[in-house]
Amino acid sequence: MKYATVFFQYIAQYLKSRLTYRTDMVVEIVSDLLFQAVNLVFILVVFDHTSFLNGWTREEIIFIYGFFLVPFAIFGAFFNIWDFNERYIMKGEMDRILTRPIHSLFQIILERMELESLFGMITGIFVMFYAGRQLDISFSWYDPFIFITLALGGAFVYAAIFVLIASISFWSDSPTSIMPMMYNIGNYGRYPVDIYNNVIRFILTWILPFAFVGVYPSAYFLGREEWYSYAFMTPVMGIVFFAVSVFVWNVGVTKYRGAGN
C-alpha cells in the first residue's frame, strides 16, 4: 500500500515537472513517434525489393514490430536505467537512495520514470491491428488476455536484462558502454530469429533473451505453431529472469561501497 501511494505521488510530481517545458515534451513525443516510424520505414522499403524474408511476409514482420513496441514502451517508461552507473554510482547518488524507506531499485525506478514512452503502446497496438487485418488474423475472446500476459512477460525480460547490467556497476564502477549495446542487440529480437546463425539464435533465446520480447510471443498470434512452446514460455522467462535480476541487485547493494565525497 505504501508503495502504491509513493508511486502515484511520484507520477504526479513527474507530470508537473514535465509540463514546465511543454514544447519540449511535445517534441519528445513526436521524436518517439519518428523513431518508431523509422523502423517501420525500414521494413516497408526493404519489402519493396523482396517479398519474403526467409519465408516471412511483410505484414508478419510488421506485426512482430508492432508487438515489440508494447513491451518496449513499458520497459522505456519504468526500467530505462541505462545511465545508472554514471548517475548513481560514479556521482555517489546511491548513498541517498539507500537512506530512503523503500526498496532501492523501486526508488530508482520512480526517479527515472519516463512516462511519455507509454505512447509507444498505442503505436504498437495500432500497428498490430493494421498488420493483423491484412493477415486476416482472427482473435478469440481470450486473446487480449494472452496478449497482456505475453506483453508483460516481454517487458519483464527486457527490464531484467537492464537491471542485471546495471547491477554490474556495484562490483565494477569503471564506465562501460555495455548499455547502448543492449539497445542494438534488443533490435535483433524484432526479426524472425531463424535468419541468424545458431550461435546468435541461442544467445537471443537463453542468454540475452530478447527474442521473447518480439518474435516468440508474436508467433502465437501469427499461428506459427512450431514456436508455440516458446511463445507460452514468455511470461515464465519474464518472471524467472526478473526474479534473478532483483536477487543479483540485492546482492550487489550489499557490495556497494560508495564513491568519493
Binding site: Y21, T23, D24, M25, V26, V27, E28, I29, V30, S31, L34, F35, V38, V41, F42, V45, V46, D48, H49, T50, F52, L53, N54, S174, P175, T176, S177, I178, P180, M181, N184, I185, N187, Y188, Y191, I195, Y196, N197, I200
Partner: protein, 263 residues
C-alpha cells in the same frame, strides 16, 4: 588559427584518457554490423543484386557507413545545449574566439580520435569476420576521404543549428533526439537512398542529409562511378556553403536575445 588547432589537440587528448571505453565501443559497432549482415542476407535471399548493389557491396556499405559515423558523429549539439542551460555560454561569449568555430574544432578532435582508435581498427576486425570488399584504386580512397570531410562538416553544421535552437526553446532534448532519428534515416545510414521509392528519393534530393552518410559510403563501395562521384561531391560542397547562412542568422538573433538561466 593556432588556438583552434590547440582545441583539436586538447579534445583529442581528453578522449585518449577514456580510451578503454572504446574497446567495448568497437564490439557494439561490430555486433550492430553483424545484425545487419544477417538481415541483409535474408533480404537478398538468392537475388544477385538489388538496385545495382550486390549482397557483398551491401555488407561493405553497412560496415563503412557505421564506421564513418564514428568519425562524423558527435554530441556537440548536446554540449551547446548544456552550456546554455547552465549559463556557461555567457563566459564563452567574452572569450577571444569564435564560439561556434571552437565547438567545431572540438568535434574534429573527437572525430580524429575515433577515426584512429575506433574506425580503422574496427574496420579491420569487421573485415576479418564478414565478407567486405575494399577498393584497390587509390583515387577511390582519396575521393572517399574528401567526401568524408564534407560529411563531417555538414553533420557538424546541423548539430550547431540544433544546439543554437536551445537559445529559443531552453530545453531541447526532444529536438536533439528527433534530429538524430532523422539523420539516421535520411542520411542513408540504415538504407541506401537508392532503395527508397522514386518520389522519396526526389524529396531527399532537396535535403542535405544524404551528404552525411550515403555519398561517402557509395563512393567507398564503388557503387558511384565517374560523373556520379563528381556530382555527389558538388552536392556536398553546395550544402556545406548553404548551411552557413542559417547558422549565422540564428547565431546573431540568439546573441541579441540571450537569457542566462544561471551560471
Amino acid at each position: 588559427m593556432a588556438k583552434y588547432i590547440e582545441m583539436i589537440r586538447i579534445r583529442f587528448l581528453m578522449m585518449l584518457a577514456y580510451r578503454t571505453n572504446y574497446y567495448s565501443g568497437i564490439l557494439i559497432y561490430s555486433i550492430n554490423i553483424g545484425a545487419y549482415y544477417f538481415l541483409w542476407n535474408a533480404i537478398y535471399g538468392d537475388k544477385g543484386a538489388i538496385e545495382g548493389m550486390t549482397a557483398i557491396q551491401m555488407t561493405s556499405y553497412v560496415a563503412i557507413a557505421w564506421m564513418a559515423r564514428a568519425f562524423y558523429y558527435n554530441n556537440i549539439d548536446r554540449e551547446i545545449a548544456q552550456e546554455i542551460k547552465e549559463g556557461k555560454v555567457a563566459v564563452e561569449f567574452i572569450r577571444p574566439y569564435n564560439y561556434l568555430f571552437m565547438k567545431m574544432m572540438q568535434g574534429l578532435g573527437e572525430g580524429i580520435f575515433r577515426l584512429s582508435f575506433f574506425s580503422i581498427p574496427g574496420m579491420i576486425i569487421v573485415a576479418l569476420v564478414f565478407p567486405i570488399t575494399f577498393s584497390a584504386e587509390p583515387a577511390v580512397w582519396l575521393l572517399f576521404a574528401l567526401s568524408l570531410i564534407f560529411s563531417f562538416t555538414i553533420n557538424m553544421q546541423i548539430n550547431l543549428l540544433t544546439g543554437i535552437l536551445t537559445f529559443f526553446f531552453f530545453n531541447n532534448a526532444g529536438l536533439i533526439r528527433a534530429k538524430r532519428v532523422i539523420i539516421d534515416l535520411f542520411s542513408g545510414l540504415l538504407l541506401p537512398i537508392s532503395f527508397y521509392p522514386g518520389w522519396a528519393q526526389h524529396v531527399m534530393g532537396y535535403l542535405p542529409f544524404q551528404a552525411i552518410s550515403y555519398i561517402p559510403s557509395m563512393i567507398f563501395t564503388e557503387s558511384f562511378t565517374g560523373t556520379e562521384i563528381v556530382n555527389a561531391i558538388f552536392f556536398q560542397i553546395l550544402w556545406a556553403l548553404i548551411l552557413i547562412a542559417p547558422i549565422q542568422v540564428l547565431w546573431l538573433i540568439a546573441k541579441k536575445q540571450l537569457v542566462v538561466q544561471g551560471g
